[in-house]
């Protein structure tokens, strides 16, 4: 059986450095010269399959512009397994911004987070303001991964994500594994699916089943986990059928 992992990846960096463009290139292999500032689909997933058949699914969070006025919610990078901090090689100031994001992550994010520093717009190398040496040296000092990319030509894009995919399963601590997203395509710390089933068992002793033989018990398995909660078409999310009330009430005051 090949291993499967799932990780939360967040993008950070100054506005217009190309965060969304990098994601678009990585996920859909497209580029758009006149991209609007991020709106809409800011929740994307992409799976990378490594040579040993390990598959790593990235759940990619784009900032949705909330960083623009220093208003990025801590929720954004909480629990992130990896962060791609992007700067624009033609804008020296954008590296400064990247440094401040990295400091913030080191202070607030999970200590095991994998951080990749990414210099984008490599196709505009003629207008380069940030040298490779400078960025690389900084990355080494801080223990970050580093690479240069062009979302426009695609150069370096899959390389940087693949490098992260290779590094993550090795570095994600056991706590993040159990409590975090990984494991075979489950994403939550607590296996709420199991918990709900266990509860079902205790709510439904066999004796009772015969007494209320025509009452269907609806304990929605796993409904607490983020994924299943998010699929109302499968789990009709209205109040529970009355039958389960019957069971609860009758159990309670028998």
């Amino acid at each position: 059986m090949s291993k499967q992992f799932q990780f939360k990846l967040v993008l950070l960096g100054e506005s217009a450095v190309g965060k969304s463009s990098l994601v678009l290139r990585f996920v859909k292999d497209q580029f758009d010269d006149y991209r609007e500032s991020t709106i809409g689909a800011a929740f994307l997933t992409q799976t990378v399959t490594l040579e040993d058949q390990t598959s790593v699914k990235f759940e990619i969070w784009d900032t949705a512009g909330q960083e623009r006025y220093k208003s990025l919610a801590p929720m954004y990078y909480r629990n992130a397994n990896c962060a791609v901090v992007v700067y624009d090689i033609t804008q020296a100031a954008s590296l400064e911004k990247a440094r401040s994001w990295i400091r913030e992550l080191q202070r607030q994010a999970d200590p095991s987070i994998v951080i990749a520093l990414c210099g984008n717009k490599l196709d505009l190398a003629a207008r380069r303001q940030v040298t490779e040496e400078e960025a690389k040296k900084y990355a080494e000092e801080e223990g970050l991964m580093w690479g240069e990319t062009s979302a426009k030509t695609g150069e370096g894009v899959s390389e940087i994500f693949t490098a992260i995919a290779k590094k993550l399963p090795l570095t994600a601590p056991p706590s993040a594994r159990g409590a975090g997203r990984p494991g075979p395509s489950s994403r939550t710390g607590v296996d709420l699916t199991k918990q709900a089933n266990a509860e079902q068992a205790s709510l439904l002793p066999p004796v009772k089943r015969s007494r209320f033989h025509n009452a269907t018990i609806t304990v929605l398995p796993g409904v607490l986990s983020r994924h299943s909660l998010a699929i109302p078409s499968v789990v009709p999310f209205a109040y529970l059928p009355r039958t389960s009330l019957v069971v609860y009430l009758s159990f309670t005051f028998f």
Binding site: A42, Q108, T218
Partner: protein, 446 residues
């Protein structure tokens, strides 16, 4: 800008998320440098800044980043309206939930678990044997009720008869009435007894369906604290184009000669918009209002004590999270006292620390004394942060001046009234249109 939203409390964030999804251009501002307003969860540094500005947190409590302390104690009732909104907006993808392990009720000097399994019910000391039989008849009546089938009505009319009438018909003891009305229907006082029974019926159904949903208690709770809720809806808003600005002092609500809203001034800048929505603190609550106009009034006060414990609450079987309700009659009050406790299981504090919030509606001029029956149940309290907050309500509905002010967070134990408020404000802001939740897909799967 079409709408400016002031304050990033849960009510405002849900509204701003839904309005952005609807296609409105929303600018959302907060004077604080954190999300959540009154419904924020704070780390220790933020908590001290708020309650004890001249002190810094004790090192013994551990790392700052491990703390997310709710200011308002509430849980999410599993089958309630907030859960529905979370699901329909897909905001669930930003959150993880855990159950609250148990719900307890105080009776005759001790606490007992609200039964959630057959075994617990059989053993429950909450009622004697004969009373259990009477209660069973009462619950069977509720469970079999069908509006369209008079045969199930047993001569009762939920829309005419009061709860008192129904309790009497089934011969239920006062203690059982306390249990049903306060621990299940979650009424804070006894006024419901003299009102028609429909609402109480619906509340009991909500409670039991929520209980049946996951088993242990009717409540779920987001990892990292309630403050995650407003942040998630803020993200929804941002994804749909909402603009966010924190740490923005709001200096003036600008109106024209007719008192109509025109914009909001922050420092030297004025942003113009058609409508403004905001929490009472932006509209003169506690201070003198703009131009002497009273936009919000106080309708009561709530006292809340955030208590840091180093142990679980005695008598709760070491539960990592609980709700305890002390019905008012049990302690000679008009309003119930609530205890809500969460812990490191919910990623809101360091390991082996437990956070209990004791709260009640203030009835006297010595609010701290009023919560003593709750505090006494906690065992030794390591530290305690007490606040008394006013509950504000707007004086106008905003329809004539485009100023829509939300209400303060009340003393109920869950978010159902918050959702009612969202629906109500939505309708007024949208010129009478009801809030209809449409499911949208925001994920792009490669």
């Amino acid at each position: 800008m079409q709408v400016i939203v002031l304050g990033t409390g849960l009510t405002e964030c849900i509204l701003s998320g839904l309005l952005s999804v609807e296609g409105k251009k929303v600018l959302h501002m907060d004077r604080n440098d954190y999300y959540g307003g009154d419904s924020a969860s704070l780390n220790l540094t933020q908590l001290y800044r708020k309650f004890r500005p001249d002190q810094s947190p004790v090192a013994e409590l551990g790392r700052d980043r491990d703390y997310a302390l709710d200011l308002i104690p509430k849980f999410i009732i599993a089958s309630g309206e907030l859960t529905r909104i979370l699901v329909h907006t897909d905001v669930t993808r930003y959150l993880e939930f855990k159950q609250i392990a148990g719900s307890f009720v105080y009776r005759d000097g001790r606490i007992s678990k609200v039964p959630s399994t057959e075994m617990e019910a059989v053993r429950s000391p909450l009622m004697g044997l004969f009373e259990k039989r009477r209660a069973k008849k009462f619950f069977e009546f509720l469970q079999s009720w069908r509006d369209d089938d008079p045969a199930t009505h047993q001569g009762i009319d939920l829309d005419k008869d009061t709860m008192k009438d129904i309790y009497e018909k089934f011969g239920l003891e006062p203690g059982t009435q306390d249990f049903i009305g306060h621990a299940m229907a979650l009424y804070l006082d006894d006024d419901y007894k003299t009102k028609t029974a429909r609402e109480a019926y619906e509340r009991i159904i909500l409670y039991t369906s929520s209980m049946a949903r996951y088993g242990k208690s009717p409540y779920i709770y987001p990892l990292y604290g309630l403050g995650e809720l407003p942040q998630s809806f803020a993200r929804l808003s941002a994804i749909y184009g909402g603009t966010y600005m924190l740490d923005k002092p709001i200096d003036e609500i600008v109106t024209d000669a007719d008192g109509q809203f025109t914009g909001v001034r922050s420092g030297g800048e004025t942003v113009k918009a058609k409508q403004v929505i905001g929490d009472p603190s932006y509209f003169g609550a506690g201070e003198s209002a703009d131009g002497g106009k009273v936009r919000v009034i106080e309708e009561g006060k709530v006292v809340r004590a955030i208590c840091i414990l180093k142990h679980t609450i005695p008598g709760t079987d070491d539960s990592d999270s609980v709700q305890i309700i002390i019905p008012q009659n049990q302690v000679g009050r008009r309003n119930d006292i609530y205890i809500a406790m969460v812990s490191s299981t919910h990623n809101v504090c360091a390991k082996d620390v437990y956070i209990a919030i004791v709260s009640t509606i203030v009835e006297t001029d010595r609010p701290e004394q009023e919560i003593i029956p709750g505090l006494q149940l906690l065992g030794p309290i390591y530290d305690k942060f007490v606040s008394v907050s006013s509950l504000y309500t707007p004086t106008a509905n905003g329809v004539s001046d485009n100023i829509f002010i939300t209400r303060s967070y009340d003393a109920t134990s869950h978010f159902e009234t918050v959702v009612e408020e969202v629906q109500d404000v939505w309708k007024r802001v949208m010129g009478g249109k009801e809030l209809v939740l449409k499911k949208r897909e925001v994920e792009v799967e490669a």
